[in-house]
Amino acid sequence: MELLKTFAAHYNYFITIFLMISGLFIVIARGNLIKKLVGLSLFQTSVYLLYLTPAKILGGTAPIYEEGYKLYSNPLPHVLMLTAIVVGVATLSLGLALVVRIKEAYGTVEEDEIFAKDPEAE
């Protein structure tokens, strides 16, 4: 029973970690460069969750000031993650531009085929 309680109290963190290692797995295991970038953005999104989860207070309200409400969730992680989302899409678009460039140069976006064409790249 105690174990189950601990599990329920940390369920958010466990799912966050699952998303994180799924992103890591996709980045390492999949050869398609676009899929790798999708994995990278999964990893980034799990970090948003890692920051926002401790900021939440059950029974609290969103941090918008209004008479009659005393308990607000922590606004600071929200601010940090607003910045992180925009930086995330910037890195994603830069990575995709590199993929387009690689496709023009090598004619493929599969890592194995690129290595086969250019042994020095490995």
Partner: protein, 196 residues
Amino acid sequence: MIGNPSAEAFVMAVLLTLLAAVTLAIARQRNMFGVVILSSIYSFLMASLMIVLDAVDVAMTEASVGAGISTVILLATLYLTGSMEYPQRRSVAIPLFVSIVVGAALVWGTIGLPAFGISDAPIHQHVAPTYIDFSRKHDMPPNIVTAVLADFRGFDTLGEVTVVFTAGIGVLLLLQGGWRLGGSRPDDDTEGDDEI
């Protein structure tokens, strides 16, 4: 979100489970179009979860940027590269092992964290009350996130704009370089400078 705390926790658990399921589907999907659409679904689920987590501003940004712009640029890249399906040729044993070891270490580190959603966790004790009281006392915007973003931490946004600007220059240089006009790849960095 004001309401029954156990109902909040239940909605969150459902959304988190759906997120995990979509992530599994992304990892298994071979069709790249399917992967892009699934990642869009993932972003919308994430935005819903952020609303339940009281991060309304972040949810709005995630829905427009994560599910909107990211999907559009991924689809545009698919159009340019034309890679729709890919075969599975490599072994997944080593990546799976690395991921599981990293995950186990993270779970081990997570056990000691305070339970989810309690109001006397250390994160709610020091800086957060100061921001909330200070922004109210000095007539800053009623949305405390806006107050912190614009009035307390404006330099963060300056850094963010710098990153976006740099990434934009990088994308422009990569996609509109001189090699297209010449029809061949440049062999060094200087070639093509006069065409830009």
